[in-house]
């Protein structure tokens, strides 16, 4: 049982990391993150990078959907806008990678701002369909504005570098991803506990009452769209710089759905939940692939049964988690935490 956890002033109670225990585990986790690239092989690092991009994208979407309550089906498009913006800035305008990423975020934020305009008039499912428009509009632009995007051929992007040092392998890129993820998560975590984050949640829970509190719905909804798209843009820019190529097929509609799945499985309205969701949606299919490959080797002749089966398992896992804990993985996490805090009593 964890006890002796008393706070003496409000400063401590307002801190993000509330106890020595949390700090300890977080520290340990950080050490793990730093040591990870030295122990892992390319494939694990590749997946780790992908998880990183997914975390940034998912945190962004959660700010919009989980915190502000505006469902977006266009997240993939904003990833695409950021990706293309950075690719074009780097290859055509001669910007460095380091400058192109925040700029890509801004371009994407602007796109999000525009797509968010209907949110002032429409809500819920209607808004959902309105954001779907972004998918088609930007998808069309990626393919057909050939002078800029090279159409379906896509753009090859040189790896980021500092002086002569090139971030051209998964291991080197890992550091860029890690720092970006920490910045992105830290910013979001702070944002949601400050004035703006509270306003977002207020709009989600009761927009009428939010107006009484003097919250300008117009401004905050659009801010939410812009910030969310900024995150998506950064995630997209990092992703394609990592892949070294960008084509329109990187941003299918399905990707938007996957991002929604991430935050729903992880936990709506929770920064931690977005992280869990991103890990889940990236790592689980990958692990299942690995497992199915192993099983396949062990049972030759059965591969055409075993391999497709992984999708079924993945589907069941998602449904299973949602049935078991509709509030997402973060709720399971909270429950485990509560169990240890209260242990050995059950309530």
């Amino acid at each position: 049982m964890r006890s002796g956890d008393f706070k003496e002033d409000y400063i401590k109670d307002e801190a993000i990391f509330q106890s020595v225990f949390v700090k300890f585990w977080l520290g340990l986790f950080f050490v793990f993150l730093v040591l990870f690239p030295f122990a892992a092989n390319i494939h694990m690092l590749y997946i780790a990078n992908l998880i990183g991009f997914a975390v940034i994208g998912a945190v962004g979407l959660n700010l919009l959907t989980g915190f502000t309550g505006q469902i977006s089906l266009g997240h993939a498009a904003f990833l695409g806008v950021g990706a293309y913006a950075s690719a074009i800035l780097i290859t055509r305008c001669g910007f460095s990678f380091w400058l192109s990423v925040p700029l890509a975020g801004l371009v994407s934020a602007l796109a999000g701002f525009l797509i968010g305009l209907p949110s002032l008039r429409v809500k819920g499912l209607y808004l959902c369909i309105a954001t779907l428009a972004s998918q088609f509009i930007f998808g069309f632009i990626f393919v057909h504005w050939e002078s800029m995007t090279n159409g379906i051929t896509g753009i090859h992007i040189p790896p980021p570098s500092i002086g002569d040092f090139k971030f051209d392998t998964e291991r080197k890129f890992y550091w860029i991803t890690l720092v970006s993820v920490i910045l992105a998560v830290g910013y979001a975590r702070n944002l949601v506990r400050s004035k703006m984050g509270r306003a977002f949640m207020a709009i989600r829970d009761r927009d009428l009452a939010a107006e009484i509190m003097g919250i300008n719905l117009f401004r905050y909804k659009l801010s939410s769209f812009a910030i969310s798209s900024f995150y998506a843009g950064v995630a997209g820019a990092l992703w394609v710089s990592f892949l070294k190529v960008v084509t329109p097929e990187h941003f299918p509609f399905l990707l938007s759905i996957e991002y929604l799945a991430m935050i729903i499985v992880g936990g709506l309205g929770s920064v931690l939940g977005s992280i869990f969701g991103a890990i889940f949606m990236t790592l689980v299919p990958e692990t299942l692939s690995v497992l199915s490959d192993i099983v396949k080797e062990m049972a030759p002749g059965w591969e055409n049964l075993i391999i497709p089966f992984k999708e079924v398992v993945f589907g069941f896992l998602i449904v299973g988690f949602l049935v078991f804990e509709p509030h997402g993985l973060v709720e399971i996490w909270n429950r485990i935490k509560k169990f240890f805090i209260l242990w050995p009593f059950s309530y």
Partner: protein
């Protein structure tokens, strides 16, 4: 109906009711008094089976209705056994008309003739509803909505009706009207009624038996008329002191403590 020593837990961790017991005989009006959060609504939900939809469950004790155990039965089966809960907050189907709301309430009746009779019965008790039967339920006044949800409950031909704060937010005139109707329903239909109500005087005036609840358990119970005479009840629920009525202006300067001996 018998509730025996039940314990209710929400989300596996939050204990709401601890050893709560309650009895209601056929044809009685039983009222539960108590603070907000004492567990009155939870008790009603435990009886009607609606706990499960809020991730709560009865972990100890049992609930019997006409000798049959019902605490593990699903809500829709409980309704069919004749128990109906009228929830607080006037939950009408705002996009349906008054009459359609009643039809929905009577959906467990299979034949239309019985349905028609039941609707007429509701109009008999609530003549105001008959006047507004074609209006969308979202546009009728709060008092009429309260009447509608009670009427809708009546459509299920219940043997036991659980009423959760029927007077909330209603004008004095309407409160009187609704309580009178509740009494008539009880007398004429023989429906047993469990009433959760904040207006203690009113509740005790129509009830046969009263329970006082605090922190998830019953601290006091007696015949309604005796309860009305209890000094503690008089002070805490009826607003009477030794010298008679007191003004709300007086409470400003002191904060009382309760003296239940539990």
């Amino acid at each position: 109906m018998l509730v025996n020593n039940i314990e209710v837990i929400y989300h596996n961790v939050i204990l709401v009711l601890k050893g709560m017991s309650l009895k209601a005989y056929e044809g009685q009006i039983v009222t539960i008094l108590g603070n907000n959060g004492a567990g009155k609504t939870t008790t009603l939900k435990a009886i009607s089976g609606l706990l499960s939809s809020e991730d709560g469950k009865v972990t100890d004790g049992y609930i019997q209705f006409n000798g049959e155990r019902i605490d593990r039965t699903s809500p829709e089966k409980i309704v069919r056994k004749g128990i109906f809960q009228v929830m607080e907050g006037r939950r009408v189907f705002g996009d349906l008309t008054v009459e359609e709301n009643l039809v929905v309430g009577g959906h467990i009746n299979k034949n239309t003739k019985k349905m028609r009779e039941d609707i007429e019965k509701v109009y008999h008790y609530f003549p105001r509803l008959a006047q507004r039967k074609g209006t969308l339920a979202g546009y009728i006044s709060g008092g009429e909505q309260q009447m509608l949800v009670i009427g809708r409950g009546l459509m299920a031909s219940p043997r036991l009706m659980l009423l959760d704060e029927p007077s909330m937010g209603l004008s004095p005139l309407l409160v009187a009207e609704i309580f009178e109707i509740i009494q008539r329903i009880n007398k004429q239909e023989g429906v047993t009624i469990v009433l959760v109500e904040q207006n203690a005087r009113l509740a005790l005036s129509i009830a046969d038996h009263g329970y006082v609840m605090e922190n998830g358990r019953i601290v006091l119970d007696d015949e309604a008329s005796k309860l009305e005479q209890n000094a503690d009840v008089q002070e805490f629920y009826l607003g009477l002191t030794e010298v008679g009525k007191k003004s709300y202006r007086d409470v400003k300067h002191y904060k009382r403590r309760k003296r239940w001996l539990t």
